[in-house]
């Protein structure tokens, strides 16, 4: 009975859409972070899979269809970018400066914690790559000898945290500029931050999508230096 239900791709597809929709309605009613559609649906789905003893691979039969759309959705960010190109043209020095300083600051914070917790270089490589969008993160982390599953985990944790915390942090620190908010979300929390930025507005979304690329490039450029920095710190 269970197998008939779960062994079709429809199972994972339906489960994802239903859980996400419920989260969406709950979040509209009670806007707590726990009801953020992404967090709510992930917790609900993991709980259900464990409760009914269903393998992740079985869920992925359908989940894969949704996962596959990440690439075309990322490509489609070009549309938002083109529509808001004038902001980029006007403010590119500020944006590049922000992304550059952010990338260096992130690396220094990670180095500090690696020294504090005495983590080895493999773990460092995984943490170093965690603000980049998954596809770039894996290749950067691999090139530094990171642990792939840890990298993916950290990328998702970072993206979730960033997209939830972003609006709160902006309020606390009085960051009101849509370009600053968008770039901060994309640079700190990659495509998951961008999905939040798109909810905040079109300019946010465009700048956030753009900063995924810029941040990715910044980390790719910084990567060869980091092993050196790591050894210097120990």
């Amino acid at each position: 009975m269970k197998e008939i239900l779960t062994n079709t791709p429809m199972f994972g597809l339906l489960l994802t859409i239903v859980a996400y929709t419920i989260g969406h309605h709950l979040h509209n009613r009670w806007p707590y972070p726990i009801f953020t559609p992404l967090i709510f649906s992930v917790i609900t789905i993991i709980s259900l899979l464990i409760l009914f003893d269903i393998e992740y691979e079985t869920f992925l039969l359908g989940g894969e269809f949704i996962h596959t759309l990440i690439t075309p959705a990322t490509v489609s960010l070009a549309i938002i970018l083109e529509k808001n190109f004038r902001y980029l043209k006007k403010h590119y020095p500020s944006i590049l400066l922000g992304v550059g300083i952010g990338t260096i600051a992130h690396t220094l914070v990670i180095l500090f914690f690696m020294i504090l917790f005495k983590f080895d270089q493999q773990v460092f490589a995984s943490f170093f790559s965690k603000s980049i969008t998954t596809a770039i993160a894996i290749s950067v982390s691999d090139s530094l000898g990171g642990i792939e599953s840890l990298t993916i985990t950290l990328v998702i944790v970072t993206g979730t945290l960033g997209s939830v915390l972003g609006p709160l942090l902006f309020k606390l620190t009085h960051i009101t500029d849509p370009i600053a908010q968008g770039v901060a979300l994309g640079s700190g929390a990659h495509a998951m931050g961008t999905s939040k930025a798109i909810e905040l507005g079109d300019v946010h979304g465009a700048m956030s999508g753009l900063s995924i690329i810029l941040t990715g490039i910044a980390y790719v450029l910084l990567a060869p230096l980091t092993n050196f920095m790591y050894y210097l710190s120990f």
Binding site: T16, Y20, L38, V42, I46, Y56, L60, G63, E64, I66, I70, P72, A73, V75, S76, L77, A78, I79, L81, E82, F85, P93, I95, G98, I101, G102, A105, V109, I110, F113, F117, F127, S131, V140, L150, I152, T153, L154, I156, V157, L165, T173, I175, D177, P178, I179, A180, V183, A184, L185, S187, A189, A191, M192, S195, I198, V203, G209, G216, V220
Partner: protein
């Protein structure tokens, strides 16, 4: 049929990106190359906005749900995460918050210096 064609164009750029990514000597994800190519095509008028707009907007507006399956994959890495969970929590919280505040503040300050008189950009509806 129109929506199907739009989806086709977006997939075309996605595949083109993947293909070029494979041919590149260094690692750049196909989705990023595809995005840059689509942007250049739209910007220089090789492809009209109407050819991709509806489907592309639908995809980007519903982006968060696309990460659900990958995030559910955390369940198979429980052991690794459980062994260093509190360090992960602290590091992620501090580093992510720090980056977002630093990036946001840097841009705001730099923008004000470069355009001191211009009023703050307000979003267009």
């Amino acid at each position: 049929m129109k929506l199907l064609q739009q989806f086709g164009w977006i997939l075309f750029y996605s595949v083109l990106g993947e293909l070029l990514s494979y041919l590149m000597p260094f690692a750049v994800p196909g989705s990023v190359i595809g995005m840059i190519l689509l942007f250049l095509s739209l910007h220089f008028g090789l492809l009209k906005m109407e050819k991709v707009e509806a489907v592309g907007t639908w995809l980007t507006q519903n982006m968060a749900i696309l990460f659900v399956p990958a995030a559910v994959g955390l369940m198979i890495h429980f052991e690794l995460i459980a062994s260093i969970w509190w360090q992960i929590a602290i590091i992620s919280l501090v580093s992510t918050s720090a980056v977002m505040i630093i990036v946001g503040k840097t841009i705001e300050i730099s923008k004000k210096r470069r355009h001191p008189s211009s009023p703050k950009e307000t979003e267009e509806a």
